[in-house]
Amino acid sequence: MSSAGIMIEAPTTPAQTRRGFVLRTLRAKPAATIGLVVLMIVVLVAVLAPVIAPYGLHTQVGPVFGSPSWSHPLGLDDGGIDMVTLLMWGARISLVVGFAATVVSMAIGGTVGVLAGYFGGVVETILMRITDYFIVVPDVPLMIVVAAIWGPSLFHIVIVIGILLWTSTARVIRAQVKSVRERVYVKRARALGAGHTRIVLRHVLPQVAPLLIANTVLTVAVAIFDETALSFLGLGDPSRVSLGKVIENAFERAAISAGAWWAIVPPGAVVALIILACSLVGGALEDALNPRLRVAHLSARTFRLRPLVGRSDSAL
């Protein structure tokens, strides 16, 4: 007969149940849900672009900078190509580059962060100095130089952006890993004789994962922005049409003096929308993960009063 066998059912608080944490956070903040929905729509459109684009990507369907009309709601670009089609295909390329660059960045940054945070000491010092070096290097000039030397292919662009973005991830992950490493259950695993690999994979990474996800989402936003900027500067892959390239083309072909706002504003708006959506989602996740951001105690609201209900010993 076990006296300890009587189960209690602790009311679970959101902070404690890791499962569904991401979903729950998003549900709690409407802005994040909107962001996620927008993002999913954009991704869906981009993925289905070859199928749902109304016209061919290289098919001229009207005059240069044709005005918006019923058949072409966003007008035509400098080559007489339908803008809606261009936006769909452009979003596709922008997102591909954004996600790919993010993957590169997270791989490098995550690894550096985990190694530095877990091992500390000399390893940490070296890795962090390398990180500092990369932080100091200015983004755009580096991109220009690399593009100039290696040539502007999609692959190179992805690598360049990835190399520039990993530093902030590395720092954030390192801080988190350091704090997780001090937790009692990690020390216990070491006392049990667990090797480093096991501890990192089974105990540290799962704790770091939510933060990594939040960071990833935010990095995507920056990656897409960087790609757009690069393309706009003419350093993008000339054979691929990204949103930045669309803006660049329009700009180069004097869309502004032609009064063709539809060639510049919509692609810019789509980029801004994607970045905003990513920021909302990533920001919400980060807020939920950072206990120091909880400021309930600074609220001006106070506790509420209720009138006494009936006799003071009535059952609730």
């Binding site: 066998g5 602790a10 679970t12 020390k187 049990l192 799962p206």
Partner: protein, 327 residues
């Protein structure tokens, strides 16, 4: 008289104090924290020894040294006849199976992402024991039964946050037992649990002890140590100042520090209120150790000799040692 399972001899653990940039440049002399300054004791199979003392006395460092989680500066830690201090990480691994630790905080010592089943199974996986997963599950269930979490099915698939503090601590003990250790180091195993739950966990440890497990318990709670341990060693500022059978130490303390501590522990019975010997000040830090007897600045009965001569830990009664010039 059975062989000692664990024999600690003249154990010394020092930590260097960082001088900082300014200190290094200014060539300030290095100072060290004398966490443990030469202690000796032994632990037999089926025996529970309690290391008692206040914060800074060195009991936690001793526990960590015994578990070889930290390096030892001098002395020997002989486990099953073999000195652990010289053994490297690789050699320690098989030993870790026989020497396990239970931690103070039941809310932090279990990985919140692992179910009970996985938490208790993990030691088996780390040490590649238990063959098939069926065999491992059997051992996990057995361990849960041993800690009175019965029937095991009720607990196997739970997460730590679904359990109470007492249950979590039992899971932690089960995870320690699954490797079938012969020595368990328990660092304040119940201090973070509610009073009504403590006795259950302590009784569990007591029954494990009667089944042959040797337990080294670290605690600041004299009442618990007196009730559950076979022997008590009282530590002060890195040294053992008194050591003997639990009941003797508590009923017939030989060292002024032990006497003072015992006198100020509050009793349950309000009619037993009395004025204890409340010492002035707090334990000095372990960097600047007082000369002679370390306790002399706070000792209510110190004499001049205490400032100069360091008393040795010697038998004042049969099997009951204390380090005091006056008893």
């Amino acid at each position: 008289m059975s062989e000692a399972l664990l024999e600690v001899e003249d154990l010394v653990v020092h930590y260097p104090v960082s001088r900082g940039l300014v200190g290094t440049v200014a060539r300030r002399p290095r100072s060290t924290v004398h966490a443990v300054d030469g202690i000796s004791f032994r632990l037999r199979p089926g025996e529970m020894v309690a290391l008692v003392g206040e914060s800074g006395c060195g009991k936690t460092s001793t526990a960590q040294a015994v578990m070889r989680l930290i390096d030892v500066d001098a002395g020997a830690v002989r486990f099953e006849g073999r000195d652990l201090t010289g053994v490297g990480t690789r050699g320690l691994r098989p030993l870790r199976r026989r020497l396990q630790m239970v931690y103070q905080d039941p809310y932090e010592s279990l990985d919140p992402r692992l179910r009970v089943r996985q938490a208790v199974e993990e030691p088996l996986l780390i040490h590649r024991l238990g063959g098939t997963s069926v065999e491992r599950e059997r051992r996990v269930r057995e361990a849960l039964e041993r800690v009175e979490l019965s029937p095991p099915d009720l607990f196997l698939d739970r997460y730590p946050h679904e359990l109470s503090g007492g249950q979590r601590q039992r899971v932690a003990i089960a995870a320690a037992l699954v490797l079938e250790p012969v020595l368990l180091v328990a660092d304040e195993p119940v201090s973070m649990l509610d009073v009504s739950v403590r006795a259950g966990v302590l009784s569990l440890l007591e029954s494990l002890k009667r089944a042959g497990l040797a337990i080294l318990m670290i605690t600041h709670d004299l009442s618990t140590a007196a009730r559950f341990a076979d022997r008590i060693a009282v530590m002060y500022l890195g040294l053992i100042v008194e050591e003997g059978p639990a009941e003797r130490v508590v009923r017939d303390p030989q060292h002024p520090y032990t006497r003072a501590l015992l006198s100020v522990v509050p009793r349950r019975d309000p009619r037993e209120r009395h004025q204890g010997t409340v010492l002035r000040g707090e334990t000095p830090d372990a960097v600047n150790i007082p000369s002679g007897c370390r306790f002399h600045p706070r000792c209510p009965v110190a004499v001049n000799a205490c400032r100069v001569d360091e008393p040795a830990l010697e038998a004042k009664r049969p099997d009951h040692r204390a380090a005091c010039l006056l008893t």
